[in-house]
Amino acid sequence: MVELMLAPRLDMAAARPLAEALRGHRGGALTLDAGGVQFVGGLCLQLLLAGAQDWRDAGLPLTFSARSTAFDAAIALFGLSLDQLQTKEAS
C-alpha cells in the first residue's frame, strides 16, 4: 500500500507538486495522510476530487489514513463530504 503524505499547506504553490504526485501513483492503491494539513485551498481540493474520481474509475482504493481537524473543517466549509474525496471500494 502506497502512502502519500500531504503538505501542511495545500495552497496554490502545492497544487502542481500534488498533481504530479497523484499522477505518479496512478494504477495502484493509494492512502493519503492528511494528518498534518493545516490549510486546504481550492486548487488542491479540486485535485483531490479529480484524484478520487480517477481511482474510482480504475476500481482502485484511495483512502485517508489520517485527517487533521483543519482538513475536515475545510472539506465541510467547501460544501463537500469526505466520501467525495475517497473511493468507497476501500475496505
Partner: protein, 699 residues
Amino acid sequence: MSNDPMTEIRASFFIECEELLESLQDALADMENGAKDSETINVVFRAVHSIKGGAGAFGLDALVGFAHRFETVMDELRAGRLDASPEAIKLFFHAADLLQDHVRAARDNQAPPSESEPCLHALEALIDAPTGTEEEVSDFQPMGLGFDLDSFGAEPDATSYLIRFRPLDGLYQSGNEPGYILRALAALGETEITCDSDDLPDLLTLDPERPYLSWTIRLTGTVSEAEVREVFDFVEDLSELEISLDDLPVLDLPEPAPEPPPFMPPPPSEPEAVPAPVTTQSVPAATAEKATAPPTSEAKSPTVRVDLERIDRLVNLVGELVINQAMLAQSVNEAGLAPNSAVMTGLEAFMMLTRDIQDSVMMIRAQPVKPLFQRMARIVREAAASTGKDVRFRTDGETTEVDKTVIERLADPLTHMIRNAVDHGLETPQARLAAGKPAEGSITLSAQHRSGRVIIEIRDDGAGIDRDRVRAIATSKGLIPPEAQLSDSEIDNLLFLPGFSTATEVSNLSGRGVGMDVVRSAIIALGGRIAISSERGKGSCFSISLPLTLAVLDGMVISVANETLVIPLSSILETATLTPDDIRMLHPGTHVVHMRGDFIRLLDLGAELGYRAPKQSYVGDIVLFTSKEDGTRSALVVDAIIEQRQVVIKGLERSYGHIPGIAAATILGDGQIALILDPADLASQSSTRHKRNDLSLAG
C-alpha cells in the same frame, strides 16, 4: 514575506478593527450621555458585527465567538427589546474593552483573554430577563424589527440569498481563496454550501493552476445585499457572481443557535453533494442596483494607508532639505547679492515652499489624541472598578492633533497619572459625601494647542495634595532639610523627586511617588514639561506641555559669550533692553527685573551655562522673557539676537542623556552646531540651585 496578499489583507483588517473599536467607544459614550436613537445603537451593533464578519474570514474563532455573543445582545438592543440602562451601558463598555483585548490577542497571535465569560454571562443575563415577562413582551412584538443601515426600511429582519460563485483564471494567482470567501459568508448568517464539480476534467488533463469548481451558497441572515457583495470585493473581476433573493419563507427558518458559532460549516452528513434544487427568484438588475446603492450612511473622505517608516523617511528628508536651504541662504547672503536680485527672489520663494512642504509633512504625522483618550477612559473604568469608586470621566479637545510619536510615548505616563488620579486623587464615595461633594468623582482629561505646544491636563475634583504630609515625608526621607522654606508649588513638585514615595498610601493600583518621577522623566524625554497645581479639598491638576512635533521648531538664534544658541520661539513672551530702573538686586548674585509692576527673576544665560562669570551690571543688556507652565516668568540675559528661523531638531538624549536646560541641538546654515535651550527647565534648575545654596548657607 510581507508580499503575501493575505498577510496584507489581514493587517488591514486589524487596522479597520481599531477604527471600528473607536466608533464603538464613541457610540457607547454617546449612549452613556443619554443618546438612545437608532443611529447610535446601529453604530454599536455594526461595529461588533463587522469585526465578527471580518474575523470569520480569517478563522479567528475566539474573536468570532466573543463578538457573536456580544452582537446577539446588541441585536436585542437594536430591536428595542433591551433597555440601555446605566448598568447595561457599563457592561457594554466592559464588553467593548474585552472585544478590544480579543482583537489584539488575535492580531498578535496570542491566547484570547480568559476573563470573557463572566462579562458575557452578565450580558446574556440582560436579554434573559425580559423572557420572564413574555406575556407583556409578546403582546406587541411578533418579530424583531431590525434596523440595518444598509437595508434601512427595505428588507425584513432575516433575508435569504442564493449566491452562485465561480472563480475565474487569475483568482488564485492574485492570492485569493474561495475558502476565505465562504468563511466570510458563513460569518454573515446561516449558510448552506454546495460545491459544483461538473466542469472538473480528469486528473491527467486537469491544469493544476486553473479553477474548475464553483459554489452555490444559500445564505440566511440579517444582512443586506450590499454586505453580501462586500465579501466579494476582492474577487469581483476574478469570478462570475450571481446573487439573488431566495424565496424560501424566512419565518420557517430556525433561530440561529448561539452555539456553535455560526461560521461553523454544516456537518458533512450527505454522502453525495448534489446541488440543492432550490427555486430562486432573481432580482431584476435595476432592483439589485438600488439595493447596493447606499453602502454606508456616512460619507468618509478617501484615505490611503501608508507605512509609518515611509513617512518618517519623508520627515527626515524634509529636515535635511530645511538644513540645506539654510546653508544655501547663508551662501547667497555671503555672496553679497542685491536684495531684489533674481537669486534672492528665487531663494525666498524656495524658502516659502520648503516651509509649506514641511508643514504638510508634519500634518501627515499629526493625529488626533482621541484614541489615546479612549484608552484612558478604559483605564478609568478599570481603576474605578478596582477601587470601588464612582468616577465620571470627561474628555475635552479630543480632536487636538499631535505628532504620532508623541501620542505613542505619552500612553504610559498618562496611564500612570490617570490611575493615580482615581486611586489617590479622588476620595472614597463616603469621604466625598462627608465633605459635601457628590459621591461620584470627576476626572477630566483635556488637550489643547497653546502657543505652539500641546497642553494636556488631567484634572480631578478630589481632595487635593496634602502639603503638610508631603512635606513631612520629604523631610523624613532627607529630601529636604526640616527648616526649608518652600512655596506651595515647590512642595507639590516634591512628588516628582526620585525616591519620594508616600508609602503608606501605596496600593496595588498605583504608588504615587514611585511612578511620578518616572512619569516626569518620560515627559522630559519627549521635550515636554509637567506641572502640578492643587487646591486642598477641591482637587489637583497635572498639566503636561509637549512640543507638537519632534522634528522642527521655530527658534530665535541668539549669541551669548560668543556661543550661538537657539531658544524656542514658543517659549519667548517678549524681548527688551534693560535700563537701570528695570533692575533690582535682591542679594548678591540674585537680580530681578521690574516689569510692569511684576518682579521677574533675571537669569544670566552666559553664567548659567558656565560660559563666563556673572556680569557685574546688566544695564543695556538684552533680555528675553520666558514663561513656565505655572506662569512663572524669567528674564534671560543674552548678548545679541541674531535672527528668527526654523531649525531641525537633532536629539541629544540618545548620545548624552538629559542635559539640564538643553532640549536638543541643531545644525545652522553655516554648518555650525547650536544647542537648543529649554528655558523653563533652565529656570527650574537655576531656582533649585539657588535654593540649595541658600539652604546650605542657612544650615
